[in-house]
Symmetry: D2
Subunit: 305 residues, 4 copies
Amino acid sequence: MNALLAQILADCAHYTSQGHVATYIPELANVDPGKFGIHVTLPNGENYGTGDDQDRFTMQSVVKPMILLLALMDSGITAVRDLVGVEATGKPFDAFNYSDQALTGAHINPMINTGAIALCTLIHGNTYEERFDRLLNLTRKLAGNPNLEVDQSVYRSEKLTGNKNRALAYMLTAYGMISDPVEKILDCYFKACSILINCRELSRIAYIFANHGLFPDTGERFFPAEYAKYVTATMATCGMYDGSGEFALTVGFPAKSGVGGGIMGVIPRRMGVAVFAPSLDKHGNSVAGVQALSQLSQALDLSIY
Amino acid sequence: MNALLAQILADCAHYTSQGHVATYIPELANVDPGKFGIHVTLPNGENYGTGDDQDRFTMQSVVKPMILLLALMDSGITAVRDLVGVEATGKPFDAFNYSDQALTGAHINPMINTGAIALCTLIHGNTYEERFDRLLNLTRKLAGNPNLEVDQSVYRSEKLTGNKNRALAYMLTAYGMISDPVEKILDCYFKACSILINCRELSRIAYIFANHGLFPDTGERFFPAEYAKYVTATMATCGMYDGSGEFALTVGFPAKSGVGGGIMGVIPRRMGVAVFAPSLDKHGNSVAGVQALSQLSQALDLSIY
Amino acid sequence: MNALLAQILADCAHYTSQGHVATYIPELANVDPGKFGIHVTLPNGENYGTGDDQDRFTMQSVVKPMILLLALMDSGITAVRDLVGVEATGKPFDAFNYSDQALTGAHINPMINTGAIALCTLIHGNTYEERFDRLLNLTRKLAGNPNLEVDQSVYRSEKLTGNKNRALAYMLTAYGMISDPVEKILDCYFKACSILINCRELSRIAYIFANHGLFPDTGERFFPAEYAKYVTATMATCGMYDGSGEFALTVGFPAKSGVGGGIMGVIPRRMGVAVFAPSLDKHGNSVAGVQALSQLSQALDLSIY
Amino acid sequence: MNALLAQILADCAHYTSQGHVATYIPELANVDPGKFGIHVTLPNGENYGTGDDQDRFTMQSVVKPMILLLALMDSGITAVRDLVGVEATGKPFDAFNYSDQALTGAHINPMINTGAIALCTLIHGNTYEERFDRLLNLTRKLAGNPNLEVDQSVYRSEKLTGNKNRALAYMLTAYGMISDPVEKILDCYFKACSILINCRELSRIAYIFANHGLFPDTGERFFPAEYAKYVTATMATCGMYDGSGEFALTVGFPAKSGVGGGIMGVIPRRMGVAVFAPSLDKHGNSVAGVQALSQLSQALDLSIY
């Protein structure tokens, strides 16, 4: 496995010079586009990694599966499903004219910003600080690292410049889908996006989803299998933005990408994998990361289709 | 003229029971749907009104022509046109996915909330309080009433519940179209929507647009004719929301409606008219108001087409 | 007037080198982009023209007002309005998924292909050849030239390549808005688009609309004034494609353009005008033609706003 | 397995009275909504069925995987992928205005009518009759029944009323995506939709996809494994129309539904399944069929996530 991962990194290294690092927040633009790491977690806690797989990056959208999971654990499937839809086919939404259509749950998805913001309201906690702390703790347990922290400068940068997310959150408010103060919810969401992680930890998280909620080392059940399937299925249909269909063809397992350059991949019942390479394609997915996962999938026959 | 207006009110009174008063802010829902007034202003300050034409109502979107006018007076045609487009054909806009299209001026219009909010940033003033005061003063002068005031409870209600407008304003911010603090801009906008006016005053404003910037009584020029044409032309193509095309056919002159139930109609070079009847059709236009303007247009051959 | 028109042509001649001639059918691409003509028709048949105002070009979308007029004359306002809407704000329409929204009259407009195609079915005639002959005769009478003919090579070219129009026509069929054979209807429509006209004749047509249905020479009524207003009002809100709002600002009277390079302008109660210059802007409107109309409007204060 | 299938049919029978049979072609409306059958195919050709699993119904959209497969076998992955996209997130497409966006492969998908129509042009054959014959033969071989035939009255009915598909095909033509005569292509497509099949045969087809191209009985390879994965992956993200995301959650394996009431489900490496129950939900999927597959998936832990 070590040899295979090394080979994949060597073969795909030239892809790190394609695409562009995210620039919509200044802090993300400073990352070194040459970084490239991969890590896999197998049953019994066996794991292998190479390259920059210990380098930390902010989770960004890779945290969406964690938000969905905690919303499921705290509020249950019915409440989650009632608030946020699961289709990738949501039609454009407009609010220019008096008579424009209403925004409903059917228009949103847990793997898209609007859906993830809405789901923060289904995480339990007396305050949004408490809700975030519970989300951070969940992520720490899944990652197997009690010291995961928020990148404060990225968090402040997101908070300062995250006006598209503010727009989405106020739209949710306007249509009665959320009712808590927008800035409180967004503060939780921005912090979540700014959690620092590395490939080793992220592949462990992916493994736990692949293992349907059981910890890799102890075998202890951390959450019900049906929550794992809920999260994984939405990753399969919508986890790679407008590149989800292409990814299903060329890689073939559920995955979630983030504009920080990370991707977590879940191979149900078999494996968790994570890659990190900051340069993104037009869909917002790591160029070299997608290539590496594709090569890994071919080599180990990981497609679930 | 008095007889004609009385006849129109009698003929159209039964339309006041059709449609629904606006309910999106609680204060607007309390208005009496049976209210119905009309007022016309003719050259030399001659004017006629009947029914509830002295009853006050909040301007709501009827204030948009005033915002556009003051932006033109303060910043000029080029700055206004660069920031805010003039087509009614703006395509739906979406911000769900990473790769979604950017919002540009071509998508917005001065007669639609997004455009009016953006135009508040082109009104001069050291603070948004000062900008609003200048807008209120402009409206007072146009209306010929130095005592126009804001309905404080409607204003507070709009501020409290205006989350769709917050969403739009943050979207404008996210795409770099505005840069001042959203809440400051919206405070100015919400106050503007809450200015109390009556049909007599509103028809005077309409007359000044029809008279291309000259006051009806003194004949003094208040603003350039080309600004009047700018405002009036955008009212003609987009002033009645998704009912603008229908209104051009059945009434045939530029007009702007508001969800407070008011409509101002501009018959260039001839007349200003205002109606008030709070019950709205599906487009957000006063049902009885549109009917009254249609009958007036037929009776006096007011169509500009 | 002769001096003014000559001045306008001289001032705007350099615009003929901007934009691009239509290329979607090969025959249109062969036109000389340097052609430039203008003609105005005034009361009592007085008329003035200069440049290439006797050159013939195909009407293309400039025939849409004639289709609408004949549909009104044959089937009346109610039937026309029931079939085809009048808003410029029609939302994008999709037919990809089983559950997609139905296409309705509210989505279409007489000044847009879909609406014009639908209106061909409201023209009377036992066959579509007969319907087209009646449309040609109407156009001949309006133009004051009994010899107007179809450009056969453009017609054949449109028929061969007009698959977007076929798509639109089958969509209308699928939603029950039309029921006659699509190729018959389109044959009528393609022939109509291929009628050859010149600026002198087109300005006479525009004048008759401006004169509310009365012939310029005899003063005889050819059609009711309300039909003239119906046609003119839809031209004002939607006659210049996605440039209709801009045209209302900068020129200020109802007009209809065609991709053949012609534009007819209607100044109600005052004047008809036509320009011809084949090079088009991104909206499909003649670049030099719009400039010439703008200068004419300024010089003679023709804005209706 | 027999007992399980019988139990599922009994449990889900009441769902056959929910929803509505397809009515867009008269022939489909005549089907008995009480019909309900299920059949599974396992390794080594083992198979079990119950209820109306021998009743024939027209494939409708269930034939799309076969069209995609034959296009892949005849023209290869690159040609298929270049012509037809694989995302479920295609934005609405419009063709109303001169300046509207171009239709591209990125807007379409093999599991949606537009994509399937386009893919007919990648099936080999000197004529479209020959192409269809090759598609029918492929389907016969997959189904294990050399006598599969077209329902002539459904085929004629589709041909007569399939104007939405005509519209889509002409749109593809207009944008240069297909160039053969539309009626020829559609004739092939309409015949394909009208092939009569039963659940036993359809589950055998599903099994061959699940078995990555190997026949269940002989173990002989019929097509490459990567084609099976291509087809199955597109079914997973887009096979159940706007209900694909929901189906991934509640059932959890790739499937394709048709408005004839059939659904084929592919459980990779394990099983093929087919259900038939004509009454459809709002997405166009069999109501009782989806319920039966959900129950089967729970009972046998068939989710791939």
